[in-house]
Subunit: 406 residues, 2 copies
């Protein structure tokens, strides 16, 4: 007997047929003698519709009301899932965040979980009841509904798995695992049987949409064994585990891309100490994350060009922040460029293999693709290129690192 958390994403509970299909998976785990916690997302499309309602009112909305509105999608699917399980003869009950409670801070829209009071649900599990939890939501210290941000249901699932010391957290989604590259672009992409937390973390933050960074991070910190699998077929998915559980380490496990970033270049910034702080401090204050940064010495030696990337959605705000400080920063020109893509190769094997970065650079060069910015870590190399070369770059790199399916 084991304790298992199952998380069903929006496409896995898209309509009553899908909910029934998901419930059958829950029933199967329970029939096998396991204790099962089910975490559900909103039926696909529901959250977007609710967000559209809110956005139609005005872009500067009260985030606590936003949360009240958008969290209802998970409330609906949790009740429907409980009812469907009951209809199959499986004792089940829905739990909303404030009923458990799942306590968060008051950062509406992207709240962080502080504490899960798991006593009562653990008791119910022990009694054979399936615990169905509305994902994505928590309750703030002043008793209002919070949401955990996009991908929040994954976070709910991992947090519950940690709080309940579950043996495994299965993330059911519309893909059957983690691939060496996005299979919609690279037809020869291969499904990975296992991947390390570190690699998954890089993949998530570098463009793979399968899992969100925060949920992988949380899984890694609490050593929650994650499995990404499809709710539509029975094949095993991809296990996200500790590095020592991965026997055959590949040098490169995957190639990812992200079109969500935009590039900003500040031309001819005076080259003096503290200039980086005066640029990036105000951006941080405005809650704008800066990712890749390069600083080039300019021809004249007295000034420098600073290039960096921000999330595309933040581009306009970043421009406003920097233009307001034009006198202080004394740059000659601000050049925004939304037409960029970040391409990354990821693999724990890089630690023991040299030449991975070099192979990336030469492959891109052979394809006539110019590299605009480079950023590396222990287990990944990322480059910024012109957006239109995305597919070509992915294809070439996938082949170069020998990732194509046989």
């Amino acid at each position: 007997m084991a304790r298992i958390v199952q998380k069903f994403g929006g496409t896995s509970v898209a309509d009553m047929d899908h909910i029934r299909n998901a419930a059958l998976r829950t029933k199967a785990e329970r029939d096998a003698g396991n204790e099962v916690v089910v975490v559900v997302s909103a039926m696909s499309g529901v959250t977007n519709r609710l967000v559209d309602y809110v956005n139609s009112i005005g872009s500067l909305h009260d985030a606590s009301e936003y949360d009240t509105v958008v969290s209802s999608g998970e409330q609906i699917s949790s009740g429907l899932m409980a009812l469907t399980l009951q209809d199959m003869g499986v004792p089940a009950r829905s739990w909303l965040s404030w009923q458990i409670p799942i306590e968060t801070d008051a950062t509406h829209g992207k709240a962080r979980i502080r504490r899960i009071v798991a006593d009562e649900i653990a008791k119910r599990l022990g009694e054979g009841e399936v615990v169905v939890v509305a994902g994505f939501q928590g309750v703030s210290p002043d008793n209002r509904i919070t949401t955990l941000g996009r991908g929040g249901s994954d976070i709910s699932a991992v947090a519950l798995a940690a709080a309940l010391e579950a043996e495994r957290c299965d993330i059911y989604t519309d893909v059957d695992g983690v691939y060496t590259c996005d299979p919609r672009i690279i037809a020869s992409a291969r499904k990975l049987d296992k991947i390390t937390y570190e690699e998954m973390l890089e993949m998530a933050s570098l463009g793979s949409k399968v899992l969100q960074t925060r949920s992988v991070e949380m899984a890694m910190n609490h050593r929650v064994c994650l499995q990404v699998r499809s709710s539509f077929d029975e094949s095993p998915g991809t296990l996200v585990v500790d590095e020592d559980e991965v026997v055959e380490k590949e040098v490169v496990s995957g190639v990812t891309y992200s079109r969500d970033e935009a590039k900003i270049t500040l031309v001819k910034v005076p080259d003096r100490p503290g200039v980086a702080a005066s640029i990036f401090g105000p951006l941080a204050d405005a809650n704008i994350n800066v990712d890749m940064i390069v600083q080039n010495v300019s021809d004249d030696g007295a000034s420098t060009d600073v290039t960096f990337t921000v999330v595309k959605d933040d581009l306009d705000r970043a421009k406003v922040v920097l233009e307001e400080r034009r006198d202080e920063l004394a740059y000659a020109e601000l050049v925004p460029d939304p037409n960029v893509a970040k391409i990354s190769v990821i693999g724990v094997g890089m630690r023991s293999h040299v030449g991975v970065a070099q192979q990336m650079f030469s492959t891109l060069a052979e394809n006539g693709i110019n590299i605009q910015v480079i950023s590396t870590s222990e287990i990944k190399v990322s480059v910024l290129i012109e957006e239109k070369f995305t597919e070509q770059a992915l294809c070439a790199l996938h082949t170069a690192y020998d990732l194509d399916a046989a």
Copy 2:
């Protein structure tokens, strides 16, 4: 300065344009110096869609999960209303039942309000904040969401008006008042300026969809002045008030119909003391309301036919309850008939006028419409007829009682 409760029904908050229109009415009351509580229903269609989801799973569902699902519609509209008011510069906050709290019993699906802890919302009103309450819902003693039954948002509004000692409770809907008959069926129906609680109570329980019985009952008990009015035009609506505030009393104020009932006949029940109790006791235990009852002596003298009506939605459950007790009740046959309509004429003037019932029976007879069951009270006469004669009966009665508009 007054304290006013405004309740907006589903059609009044059907989409963002309608919510904006409703919010303008709230803003106008507040700009006039009033304290305003807004109670919202779900956007029209939303609750039905959620109910359909639940019903698609199975008809014998867990009512607490049903409530979890269907209450989300009001959660959405309360958040959207608060955001819309804020966008107009009106300070506002949404309140869910468990946040106030609005405490109910645990009768899911048609819970009764036990207590409203109004201190915090009264304080907010005093500070000039509009209090937006998700209608239709409460919270049970064991911390689960309950719903108050169809028309529950009216109950929420009246209960809040009573708890907050509001001067008036305006029920905004898609009709501009209470009519002598359903104007969709009888084009010559007239709008009433005033109507007594007692008449409104009968109308509500006898098929008028404008207000629900329980909300009128509650308004009467707490002497809450109700106004039924349209959110789409500025004309005054119908005031529901004490009898002594209505100057010109009509003999008959209105003719109503209901297609929501079904008839059950138990054929040849042994005619012995206690038989009624043995039939209706188990139905009451199963929370099935029985309305009209007749008992006919059968030909053989030793047995009797018992006919009664239940809400159409309860018909299947009622059959199950009675069939389970077939041996005990010893009836020969159970004949269900969903194809019936209840037609009623209502008026406090009946107290001082004779012949109202007689005029009803003769009018129907002249139209060749057979009366199946009769039920009367001090201020109404109801008959059960074959459903297909509904319009014909209404039309004939409306004319016979001189209710047609000039």
